[in-house]
Each structure stands twice: as structure tokens, then as C-alpha cells.
Subunit: 259 residues, 4 copies
């Protein structure tokens, strides 16, 4: 995810880069928005049983099955893209000529996608057949999110202060989501936890976009001063506004769905 | 909340400053004291059902509704005050002339109030209508408290040792309360958690006052030596006494209410 | 608790000092041993109801009442002793002549005892009358243990490496016990948590004694080299042996009681 | 476990060393693989009750009893081996002639094995008789794993960066497993937690092997550069692949068992 900010130092491909941070951001936003419709719908279905089109639990189970497929496909696309972009590793892990690891960043991102892929597969099996216990899907999703955070922790060495800070802020959303999803293993179907997860997912998505704009200001606007302490404080606050914004979206979707 | 301690270095407005630390302190104290009456009352109502004036659960639900309104109003007052005090930002975020962020501290405090405001709104909707699940109010309150702590963590850079220490002590009460309220999502109505929350809320309020007195000694008494290690140790202990005092208040109110 | 190790640097009262570390150690050992008898007894009473002398729950409730009284009395003794030992503060907090805090260490220990005293009082009220919810006793005990650890954290500055290390090891037992007791609020009467708490209490007690022997070797044996890294490693391991020993005691008492 | 990497600096016994890291690794792998068969089996037995050979709960209880014996025997072998290998301590703790602790590393490993031994004994008593509550076995196992991690934390001082890093990665699996097993005290028989534990156990086992290969490259291949930052990043990623691999094994065994 954070690959291009490192690559930047070598080749100034400024124009294209914001798109790359935007890619995972869009994935998370898309899932967050979808969940912000799905869970209120599920909740109001459970409350007044007859007023609901989508029918019984079976309908929602089919939805989770489809979600699993989409997740697995997205993860596959992500992995292939990370490997076969023009300056990607093309499945080559070690550069024997120059004796160093090749494109480690792309490999790390591919690993992150891999676990989301596994989570998608578990979703498919758990909701498509009844061989696996259903709670397994939450555990795998929690692990996938945790491993995303885990790998993030270990590839921020040697960056500029502001760059590290914006990524660290992301870690709160990531680990928060991992804990929240793990709790769902035990409190499955708790609307409160589902809303919390949705809000953290939207936050993560919109913050990815924000990182893109901070690190690669569009339209020739000046770069951010990486060493200015007040910039750091502003971004911390900005992060909170993103979160408030995520709740605004949740509230709007909730009221629309409730009607 | 901690704005004026920074502003101080520029303009020595000594006389007014303790009042500013006192403002949020009073809010928290007020809520803490109110809760220390409300929860014992609710508990004894639940125990002996007929001896209770306020009646059934409906009465307490109406109370929570009113609480939400008060919280939202307080938060609105706080936000407006932070913006429009004489040396406030007046909604201006960036100073284009001098090219720096404007009054970041006030904006941070306004952000803190914003989340308490959201929490108040959620209270109103959750207890006024039945569109939202009731447990939502605890989750939003927990998040509001967490974000208060989160923003606190990131604006203590570059202060004197003692100043940092007294604010760090506050973080124990803040994050403790956030965890406690989050647990209430799952163990709603547990009198033990409610008492714990109340005690931490009183502690936070009285500690805000204490911070005010430490940083701006009233009546011309000498300033505290910011570098003295024993001062730090004394304040740590003092913090525990405040907590013991919070329990004393709880105990007194509890016995009065029980009668 | 750790006062005399600091005092030592000024006055070499070597002979008496181990006794001082031994005092709280003995308290914890005594409680740990008592609990290692009480909880297995309670458990086997619950399993085969008729074979039990002590009778129904009322018997055990009276026991907890008595425990509360003993705890409160011990805490009172501790507080008075800390204040009125020959080189204690005698209730004087600030030395106005030399302008420094007076005997802060004794005050800190008195504060620790104070919270154990409050916990004892809550025990008495919760089990003697039925005004307070019973789970309150666990919460106050958890807080008392937590505050003991909290104050410990803040009075290890400026000591020698080994001295800090042996006290840090103690913190594991203290915070472990605090978490364990807090869990008991929700899983009251779980024999597993009660055994865990008992083992941690015995560990704390025996480690206090060990600290005494490490810092003040008796009978003129040479002092420990405070800077030797292997000493630190040995003590870490030794800590684990103490814990294994605590389990041995538990096992012996358990088998005796079961018969 | 990590003894030989220290010993290495003194005597270059390169050829034999990978075997030593492999020993505990094999234990963990063996247990992980066994659990990856046992728990799916138990789960499908519980789902369709008549299609199961092993019969009722009694069969599985006898299994846990046997497991306890094996664990205790392994632990005993480990302890004896650590003591009586040619360059071991032979039960001598302190070298009085040279005045230093003797073979502390072996003693630390023996201590780790000791707690696994205690856990095995508790398993035997809890499942063989009905004197002990059954949940005790999980608590002791959780403590044994925790103490393994605890001792690990304190014997990484003064090693090279990469060496520390690969051991730190191991700590995630260890403490993750400790938390997971502790949760099982309260959510006993949850297939999700059992699978998580199994996966972490396999991860730990295979990572021990990986550490062996990293620190002592076999067949005369060149040593890893301990100071290269990219090596660290590769190994972090590699750790995730090991985990993905653990899930692959779990999935394969699960499907075989389900049929």
C-alpha cells in the first residue's frame, strides 16, 4: 500500500501515484458503504419481521456468500496487480545478480491481499456449505485485518516524520477493526459491533485517500512540510473529522434504510 | 482543554486562566455527581419495585433522553466558546498570510466537544425514538471519551515535565472510563460498571481543577518547580487521594439515596 | 514498601531492613495461604452439598465479612505504622523549613494501605448488609491492587538496575492479579479465577521476601552485584520458580482439603 | 531454546546446532498437527452424533488424559536433556570457583519445560479423576505458554538485530496462543478458538525450524547479513507465509476429517 511513497524517492512519477493509494482506499470505502446499508437493513428486518423483502436469514446468508466471492476476487486482482505492474516483481523474489530482495514492498502488499483472499474463501465455504462453523468467517477476517496492521508496523522505518504519522493513525483504525471483529466471534450479530466495524472500515478507506492527497498533493500545490509539528497536529484532528464524517454517512444511510 | 497552558508562554493572562481549566472540570464533576445520585437510585428501584417514586423503566429512559439533550447543549456551548473567545480562531483554520495553522488548540478542543455532541445526539435518538438500538448510546459515549484521550495524547509535546505528568495522569481516568463504558455495551445495567464510570468521571472533573491549581497557582503563591522529581511523586499520590475522595462522595450519595 | 531501599543510601541500618520488606510480604502470604484453603473448600462444598460442615452460602458470606474486617484492620495498622515509625512523617506532609516534601515514600505506602482499607470496608458493607451489590467487593479489591501497581510504577526512578528489575517482576504479579480480580466481577465464583488469584497472591508475598533477601543479604553475605546481567537473568528465572512453588502449595492444600 | 545461538559465539559447533532449534519446533509441530486432526473430529462428532466412532465425551476425555501424559513425558525429557547434555549444567546452578551463574540458558529452558510439565500433570489429574475442575487444564496451559514468552522476552539482550527480530516474531505466536487459551477457560469447546490455537501452535513449530535455518544456514550456504534491513522485512513477510501455510494444513486436515 505504501510502496509508492518509497519508490518516489527514486523516480518522480508524481502524477500517477495518488491513484495507487486510492485503490485500496476505494476497496475499503466500497465495503464500508455496502455494510452501512446491509447491517441497518438486517437489523430492521429482525425487528419487524413481516415488513422485510429480503426474507429470512437465508437471504442474508446468501449475501455473505456473495460478499465472500467479491472479497476473494478483489484480493486476487490486488495480488496479480501487485505482481505484474510494470515496475513489479513478476513473481521474482530475490535478485541473484545484485544480491538483494526484489520489490519487497509489492510482495508485502501481495501478502496482505493473500490473507483477505483466505478470508474470502473461508466466507464462501462457511456460508456456502455447512461444513465449517459460521463464526470462522469473523475469525479469519479479524486475522486478515490484524496481519494488514502487523505488516504495516514493520514497513515504516526510515520515512519522514509526517509520512510515518499518517500511517500510524491508520493503525488505530486497523487494530480497532481487528479487535472489533474478533469480539464479533463471541457476540455475533450484535448491531453495535457491526456498526463500529463499518465506521472503522469507512474511516480506513477515506484515510487512505487522505494519505494520497497529503503525500502527493494534486494540481501542483506545494508539498507538505514533513517536519512541521503543527502539520502533525492538524492531521491528527483531521483524522477525527474523517471519523465524524464516517458516522454522518452511517447516520444518513441508517435513516434512509429505516424508512 | 490544555490550550491555555501553551498560550501562557506568550501572554501572561494569569488571573483568568484557572477558570478555563475549571470549565471542563465542572462539566465532568456535574455529570459525575448526577450519576452518583442516579445509578444508586436506579439500583434501589430495581431491588424493591414498589417503594420507588420514579416508576418503571420508562421514567429512567426519559431521564437518559434529557441527559442526551443536556450533553448536546453543553457540547454546542463548548464548541461555540472555543471558536468565538476573543483569542479564538473564529472558524478560520489556516492563516494564509503567515502560512501556518491557526489556533490548532481551540480546533482540537472543539473536535473533542463535537464527539460529545454526537454522543448526545445518539442518546436523544436512541432513547427518544426506537429506531436505534439502545446499546448504541454507550458505544458512542465510549468513542467520545476515547477520542478525548486520543487527542490529549498528541498535544503534550514540548511541555515541561510536570505539566506533561499531570496530563498523563488524566489519561488513566480517560482511557479507564472509555474501556469501562465499552464493557457496558455488553453488560448493560451492571451497577458495578456504572459506579466505576461515575467514580472515574468525578476523578476526571476534580483532577481538571487540580491541574488548574498546579499550573496557575492562585493568589500569588509561588509556581511549582516543573523539574522537581518529588513534586511529580506527590502529584501521583495526590491523584490517588482524589480517587479516594471520589469514592467518598459516591459512598455518601449512595447512603443518602438508599434511605 | 520499597521505602527502606532508598533510605538505606543515607543510613546503613542493614540489620533491621529485611524485616520491613517482610511485613507486606507476610500479609500477602497469609492471605494467599488462607485463600488456598478457602476456595478449594468452597468448591468441594458446592460439589457434594451434604458432606460439608460449614453449611450453605451463608457460612461463606460470613467468612467474607470477617475477611473484610481483617483486611481493614491490617490496612489501618499498616497506615499507622507508616506514619509513626521513628523515621516516619508523623502526618506532616510538607517540610516548610527545608521546602521539600516530607517522607513521600511513607505517604505513598500509606496511600496503598488506604485503598486496601477501603476495599475492606466495602467487603464489610457488601457482605454484612445487603445495601451494596455483592460484586462491588471484587471491583474495589481490583482497584486497590491496581493502585498498588500504579504507585509502584512511579517510584522506581533512579534506582540501580537490579533493584528496578526485581520490583518490575513484582508488577507482573500485581497487574495480573488486578485483571484477574476484575474478571471475577463478571465471572463470580469461577474456581479457576479464584485459584489464579490465590497463586498470584502467594507469588507476590514470597517475592516480597525474596526482594528483601536480594537487597539486604542477611548474615553478612556479600551484596548482589547490581550491574551484572546474569544476576538479572537468574532472578527472572527465580521468579518463575517462586510461581511453580506457589502452585505446589496450592496443590498440597487442595489435596488436603479435598480429603 | 535459543541457547545455542549464544553458545555459538564461543564454540563454532555449526553442524549440530540446527537440530537443537528443531527439537522444540518438532514438539510444537507434532502437537499442532495432532490438534488439527482432533478438533475437527470432535466438532463433526458433536454435529452428527451417530456417525462417530470415538463415541461420547468420555472418549475425548480419555484422549485429553493421554495428551496430558505425553506432555508431561516430553517436558521431563526436555528438562533432563537440558541438564545432562555434554555442555549442560548437570544440576549445578552456581559456579563457586569462577563466581558466576552456570549455564543459565539451560536452566531457563528447563524452567520453560517445567511449566509444560505442570500443565501436563494438571491435565492428567483434571481428566483422570474428577477432583479438579476441568477448566483448570486450559488455565495451566495458558500460564505455561505465557511463561515461555515471559522468559523469552528476557533473554534476547545483546544479540544481533536479525536474531532478535526472528525471536520477537515468535513472541506474537506465543502471546497470541496464551491469550487464546485463556479465553478458552471461559468459552470452552469453542471450535473457533481451538482452531486459532492449533494454527498458532503450528506457526510456532514451523517458525522454530525457520529460525534454525536462518541462524545456522545448512550445507555451507552463506550466513544471513544480520544488519540488513531488507532481510528483516523479508522475514516478517515470511512469517506471514508460514501462518498462511499453517492454515493450509488446517484446511487440508479439516476436509480429510470431515469426509
Amino acid at each position: 500500500f505504501c510502496l509508492w511513497s518509497e519508490g518516489k524517492k527514486k523516480k518522480p512519477l508524481k502524477v500517477k501515484e495518488p491513484n495507487w493509494h486510492a485503490l485500496p482506499g476505494s476497496f475499503f470505502l466500497l465495503f464500508g458503504l455496502w455494510w452501512s446499508v446491509k447491517y441497518p437493513l438486517k437489523y430492521s428486518c429482525r425487528k419487524n419481521k413481516n415488513a422485510c423483502y429480503l426474507g429470512s436469514r437465508a437471504g442474508f446468508q446468501r449475501l455473505e456468500f456473495v460478499e465472500g466471492i467479491i472479497k476473494a476476487v478483489f484480493a486476487l486482482i490486488g495480488m496479480v496487480a501487485e505482481q505484474f505492474v510494470p515496475d513489479g516483481p513478476h513473481l521474482k523474489l530475490y535478485n541473484y545478480e545484485e544480491k538483494h530482495w526484489d520489490h519487497l514492498m509489492n510482495w508485502q502488499h501481495a501478502t496482505m491481499y493473500l490473507f483477505y483472499g483466505i478470508s474470502g474463501l473461508v466466507d464462501i465455504v462457511a456460508h456456502g456449505t455447512n461444513a465449517l462453523p459460521v463464526a470462522m468467517d469473523r475469525m479469519m477476517l479479524s486475522l486478515a485485518v490484524f496481519i494488514e496492521g502487523f505488516l504495516f508496523c514493520y514497513h515504516l522505518h526510515g520515512r519522514a516524520m509526517l509520512d510515518v504519522h499518517v500511517h500510524q493513525l491508520l493503525l488505530f483504525a486497523i487494530f480497532g477493526a481487528a479487535v472489533c471483529i474478533f469480539l464479533e466471534v463471541f457476540f455475533r450479530g450484535s448491531i453495535v459491533l457491526e456498526m463500529l466495524r463499518t465506521s472503522l472500515c469507512i474511516l480506513q478507506g477515506s484515510w487512505f485517500w487522505q494519505i494520497g492527497f497529503v503525500l502527493y498533493p494534486p494540481n501542483g500545490s506545494p508539498e507538505w512540510n514533513q517536519m512541521d509539528h503543527t502539520n502533525m497536529m492538524f492531521l491528527t484532528m483531521c483524522y477525527c473529522w474523517h471519523y465524524a464524517f464516517a458516522f454522518l454517512i452511517l447516520a444518513v444511510n441508517y435513516t434512509i434504510v429505516s424508512w
